[in-house]
Amino acid sequence: MMRTIRKEHGNGGKQTYELIDGLFKPIFGSEILKSADDSTIFSLNDMKVGISTDSFVVKPYFFKGGDIGKLAVCGTVNDLAVAGLEPKYITVSFIIEEGFSMDDLERITMSIKKYADLARVEVVAGDTKVVEKGAADGIFINTTGLGVARDTKKMPSISKIESNQVVIVSGDIGRHGACIYSHNEDLGFEERIESDCGLLLDVISELMQEVDVAYMKDLTRGGLATALNEIVQKSGFDIKVEEEKIPVADEVKALCDILGLDSYYLACEGRFVAIVNRDEKEKAIEILRKYNGFACEIGTVEESREKRVYLSTTFGGTRILDMLYYEMLPRIC
């Protein structure tokens, strides 16, 4: 049978990794790429710099709490921020379908400008391609960001993860994914859930000044569960999280129950997990809470049995929290 690309190759879960590890990395073969995280850090004339790139294909383009332009800035800037980088420059490329509203494009561009200013990054290059009607779905945006190390001695790194460290989440999870579902006309929701789409620069900058953070990762596609699974795969440790501690807003929980979705896998666009030493957790949580009241400790790094994320349930059971395996679809059973 002919091998073809399916939607799940792009959902940030298991298949995405298989595509990256099985096709892209072997062909490109770059040593830097092999060790790359969401941002790639390398030395340039003795300076530690980092690059991150991301493409945005969200629909609707305008949603409660943001739009594709805001998302395109926040996504790339946040990827740099969690790597301990201070974002400096971004590039913005558009692929636009013929017939797309000029007013919408203007709105999206204004939004890019607004959030680039807030992130103190400068848009330094860009590209525009227009494709025939039907060859793309409205508008796709790619952004690439360049940042410099905030403090070369305090760079978070997967190699700094140790057992007994504490896993903290910066706010309630699943909002962006829930927001997009709540906009789907066919599902009959009367109101929209607000996305968590936002910049993480200030909170991370303050956190890194006060706390020696071992590692950070922003939660995007694939949600909390997928991010934690990436961490255990790369670090070689286990993570045990407690179900009751993971913050999920009522309306996100409601949407998940109604559509048969799992909030641990819903996308976030303005949340991250931080791994810190136990003696610094109070300080870290206190800082995070200034920005989001839901920030809290959710679990612990443990010596590995088999590089798994375990979830302990309310009444004392345990189960595995795995990566996202397939496109999450609304279901009735």
Binding site: E8, K14, F315, G317, Y325, R331, C333
Partner: protein, 351 residues
């Protein structure tokens, strides 16, 4: 923490009951939503050594024959738009799943409510609604057909693969499995009522109708272990806030108005007399003729049948985790999120 203590007390009482009974219990949860709730809440680890949970045939996706998927794909190729629940998308047919057909351009749309689907289908679209489900979902399809009749739509048809729960359960209890008790499906019981499950008593097996929250399961296990201890075979109702003695009579009338019993094929159990529902002959204009060949599963190593009948644990199947995974499901038990193989795989029951 008062309530967690209460919950712990219930857990301990259940364990005490089982110790008094003197053996590890085999309990079948008929409904796939219960399977997920049990694994998701970690009850399989909480009661390890006390209860062996066996997953029953109550997942419409798991018991759907691959021939049904092939039929839908055929119809999509004939330029019909197929409206389906998201659940069915990844079920493997003989050559491909609906998701794969969709990736190749077939018009396959995901519906959430069959009633809304009927309301929103465009007049120039030749549409087929894939009607899959047990009695809980059948009324929604009845309302959907009512909507089609009201609007006088001629472009909408139903591909019925609807199932009833009583006949397969009878077959299962009579011929296939030995269990100590049953957790009965709370949402089918919402429609059929406690009375709809009285037939279980004839098998001299304790049973309980249960809700789906973690505390519902806990209270149901408490009730069930007490019934087992007392040799009490009356159907107990631990979902009283929803399930009435006679069920939802309006919904039952809707089912009777549009549907009649037919034989139906259950993956894992075979052809079951009266195990399904089809549109009555007066509505045949709205029904799609489905063509079936009930040969054995295309992948002969797949042990779905034994898993569905509780003879094998998923991890005992030679394909499990090796070639059969949620990404590359060989059998329906791995496809559906409610399938026991899928739940074992994701939540790690075999560890």
């Amino acid at each position: 923490m008062q309530t967690l203590e209460k919950a712990n007390a219930i857990v301990n009482t259940i364990k005490n009951n089982i110790e008094k009974i003197g053996r590890q219990l085999r309990i079948i949860e008929v409904c796939g939503t219960h399977t997920v709730s049990i694994y998701r809440n970690g009850f399989h680890t909480l009661f390890k050594g006390y209860i062996d949970f066996i997953s029953g045939p109550g997942c419409p996706v798991c018991v759907t024959h691959e021939g049904y998927i092939d039929n839908l794909i055929e119809l999509a190729k004939m330029n019909y738009t197929i409206y389906t629940f998201g659940d069915l998308l990844k079920v493997p047919g003989k050559s491909m799943s609906l998701a794969e057909a969709k990736a190749e351009g077939a018009k396959i749309k995901i519906m959430y409510s069959p009633v809304d689907a009927a309301e929103n289908i465009a007049e120039d679209e030749e549409a087929i609604i894939a009607a899959v489900g047990f009695e809980t979902t059948v009324p929604a399809f009845a309302l959907s057909l009512e909507k089609v009749l009201e609007k006088g739509l001629k472009n909408v048809k139903f591909a019925c693969e609807l199932k009833t729960i009583d006949q397969p359960l009878k077959v299962l209890l009579k011929d296939h499995i030995k269990v100590d008790g049953l957790i009965l499906p709370g949402h089918v019981a919402t429609i059929l009522g406690v009375d709809g499950f009285r037939f279980v008593e004839e098998f001299k097996l304790p049973s309980v109708i249960s809700g789906f929250e973690k505390y519902d399961i806990l209270l149901s296990l408490l009730s069930l272990t007490q019934s087992i201890l007392n040799n009490d075979f009356t159907v107990k109702n631990e979902y009283k806030r929803v399930v009435k003695k006679e069920g939802n009579t309006v919904a039952k009338r809707y089912i009777e108005r549009f549907f009649e019993r037919t034989d139906a094929y259950f993956r894992g159990l075979g052809l079951i007399e009266g195990g399904g529902l089809r549109l009555k002959s007066e509505y045949s204009a709205f029904s799609v003729q489905l063509k079936y060949e009930y040969e054995s599963l295309s992948n002969s190593a797949c042990r779905c049948t034994d898993v569905l009948t509780g003879k094998l644990k998923p991890f005992e199947c030679p394909l499990f985790e090796k070639v059969c995974t949620p990404q590359t499901p060989k059998g329906a038990c791995m496809v559906s999120q409610e399938g026991s193989c899928n739940a074992y795989f994701r939540f790690g029951k075999w560890k």
